[in-house]
């Protein structure tokens, strides 16, 4: 196939065709206490980067109920993963409910600096009322915008319903301007408004192609009302993949694995999974996929070694990273500076 080199964010003839975005969850709280050390995260990060994934997504800090362990704090883990990676985006799940905007915006801006523009913030559904979470994100962006692109700091003052803060933000404008903001799909009216006005990536459950297309169209249809373009928001479906050398073998494996969280989304040979994924994106059911870890043999390595090359052969996935920042991987615009 031909390799198309394009500047970051500039779709070429080739890349204006179907382009699948890929991300992978790092296992959250449950897997990090006994045995699995930080080295397992480092291995997963290198595997995902070898597979040219857009980003890694680290789940939140609250361990599952009844679990004795304490899950690692995502932003700190991702700062450490900066050391062993060069390109892949690093998305931290941080609940607004137990944080303050100044402190969290400072830590996320630091991650964006240390990673040279690879940071993202997954704002989960939480105990926080959606309006407070939305104002939290707005304030964070005001703080990130308090430095001009030329590196001049200006005092900020925000007086809203939930936050009343003022002063000077001490971290210079970060490489991406703002870390990428990710939200889980939320069908409530407030959730829909948050997604349409604020989110840059939305995480959805993988369903039927028809349901995906309807949801995709509905969410993107609301963007114009906020002065946003279709390209300003990516919808990525959370999926599990079970591979086999034959369709029958894959089905057997899927059955043997049981169902950790429902039926696996893609079950088949690498060829059929790559074809289905491309088809799903080409027909507008999603812009890409977030692979959810599950105990399938080979795990992420098998996907990277067997499915990614087939997506590349189809011209549906990058053959190298074309930009340095997560925004460029996702084809998201630079945020407009609002001084």
């Amino acid at each position: 196939m031909t390799t198309v080199r394009t500047p970051a964010g500039q779709p070429s003839q080739e890349s204006s065709r179907t382009q699948v975005h890929l991300a992978a969850y790092l296992p959250g709280g449950g897997d990090t206490t006994a045995g699995a050390g930080f080295a397992s995260f480092e291995r997963l990060a290198r595997t995902a980067e070898r597979g040219l994934f857009d980003f890694l997504l680290l789940a939140g800090e609250v361990p599952p109920a009844g679990h004795g362990g304490h899950a690692p704090e995502p932003v700190t883990v991702l700062n450490a993963l900066v050391a062993g990676t060069e390109w892949i985006g690093l998305a931290a799940t941080v609940d607004t409910a137990s944080h303050e905007p100044y402190e969290l915006a400072r830590r996320l801006a630091t991650l964006d600096h240390l990673s040279a523009g690879r940071a993202a913030w997954n704002v989960p559904a939480s105990a926080d009322p959606p309006a407070r979470a939305a104002e939290f994100v707005d304030v964070s962006r005001e703080l990130w915008d308090s430095w001009t692109p030329d590196g001049i700091v200006r005092p900020f003052a925000h007086r809203g319903r939930h936050f009343d803060i003022a002063g000077e933000f001490t971290v210079p404008r970060s490489p991406q301007g703002h870390p990428v903001v990710i939200r889980p799909c939320d069908e409530s009216p407030e959730g829909g408004e948050f997604a349409a006005s604020t989110a840059e990536v939305i995480l959805t459950r993988y369903g039927t192609p028809e349901a995906g297309r309807a949801h995709h169209a509905a969410v993107k249809g609301r963007l114009a009302g906020y002065g946003r373009d279709h390209a300003d928001l990516k919808i990525m479906a959370e999926v599990t993949v079970v591979l086999g050398d034959t369709a029958a073998e894959a089905r057997e494996r899927a059955t043997a694995l049981g169902a950790p969280d429902g039926r696996p989304s893609f079950v088949g040979t690498p060829e059929s999974v790559a074809a289905e994924m491309e088809d799903s994106v080409r027909t507008g059911a999603a812009d890409g996929f977030v692979l959810v870890p599950h105990p399938a043999p080979g795990g992420l390595d098998a996907f990277v070694d067997r499915v990614v090359p087939l997506l590349q052969e189809r011209g549906a996935f990058r053959t190298h990273y074309t930009g340095r920042t997560l925004r460029s991987h996702l084809g998201l615009p630079e945020p407009v500076w609002k001084g």
Partner: protein, 325 residues
């Protein structure tokens, strides 16, 4: 190994703060590796919500995989952050560094910082330090109560408190594993150490589980043996930024050995005025000489910061059987 003077090996720590307006994490990596090559126990990185620059704990998390043995101690302000979040970040630094984390517990006293969080007024300093102690307590309970992520379940990151300020001393005596004490002579540092030890004993602690490091700012820019009058052999001079030693790395080694001999401190926390220049001289001059005299380790026999400091695991205050508190 016991050094010739009959006291324990001395402990050395260095600040890797930058004076430059903007951070460059590559320099933090370089400085920390340099300190590691000199057998230092740990590096510190200062922080506050008002100081320009990156979050210190984040920077040291980035440094962690680039180093293997040296302890990593960021300043963590307890005043404006949820205690659960504070302990989660510190425990995670310990996890990614495989047991090498500490935290220099600090408070935020200014109205300006309070305004960043929407608080109307800053609380009195004593109250803030009391609250900082409570955060340390909450963290210790959580770390005792469950097998958290980390190389050793129940392992506690090392608590460091700058006990120079009188308001910080009760918290230091009760919770610190390492207390930093500024002084221009051994008697000054020794007096604070005695006070801290007495107070620790009153709180039911073994005073030998508290390491006291004399804190000095050092300027090694004047050449090999060019101590100014009143410096070097004569000891550091008091300045607005605290005690400042100015002279050569060999004289500094003499001073460190002499102070250590008196038993006033278990070691030193050194803040170089020009990090790149002075830390290199500290490692290749001062530390090398102290190693030659058998006062400083030449390699790390242990892998955790607690082991470097010769500190045991804190006693569990709870009988932990099922991971519940």
């Amino acid at each position: 190994m016991t050094p010739p003077n009959g006291r324990g090996l001395l402990h050395l720590a260095a600040a890797v703060d930058r004076t430059a307006a903007h951070d460059d994490v590559a320099v933090h990596v370089e400085l920390t590796r340099l300190a590691e090559s000199g057998g230092f126990d740990f590096v510190t990185l200062g922080d506050s919500f008002a100081r320009p620059g990156f979050d210190a704990l984040a920077v040291l998390a980035r440094v962690a995989p680039a180093t293997t043995r040296i302890g990593l101690v960021p300043t963590v302000t307890t005043t404006h952050t949820e205690p659960f979040q504070v302990q989660a970040a510190v425990a995670t630094l310990d996890w990614v560094s495989r047991g090498r984390a500490g935290w220099c517990i600090d408070v935020s006293t200014t109205e300006g910082e309070a305004r960043l969080f929407g608080r109307r007024h800053a609380a009195p300093v004593d109250a803030l330090w009391h609250e900082a102690g409570q955060v340390a307590e909450v963290a210790a309970r959580l770390w005792d109560s469950a097998d958290r992520a980390g190389p050793h379940p129940g392992h506690h990151p090392v608590r460091v408190v700058d006990a120079t300020d009188r308001h910080a001393r009760a918290t230091a005596a009760r919770y610190a594993d390492v207390a930093l004490v500024q002084g221009t002579n051994p008697a000054q540092v020794g007096a604070v150490r005695a006070e801290l030890q007495a107070s620790a004993l009153a709180h039911g602690r073994d005073p030998d589980e508290l390491r006291v490091l004399a804190a000095l700012t050092v300027d090694l820019g004047d050449g090999e043996r060019a101590a100014e009058p009143g410096h070097g052999g004569g000891g550091p001079r008091q300045t607005a930024q605290g005690p400042l030693y100015r002279g050569g790395p060999v004289d500094l080694a003499e001073l460190i050995a002499a102070w250590h001999e008196t038993g006033a401190a278990d070691g030193f926390h050194l803040t170089p005025v020009e990090p790149r220049r002075d830390l290199e001289r500290l490692v290749n001059g001062t530390a090398a000489l102290l190693q030659h005299r058998g006062l400083l380790r030449t390699f790390y026999p242990g892998s955790t910061l607690r082991e470097h400091l010769g500190l045991g695991r804190p006693a569990h205050r709870y009988a932990v059987t099922g991971g519940t508190s």
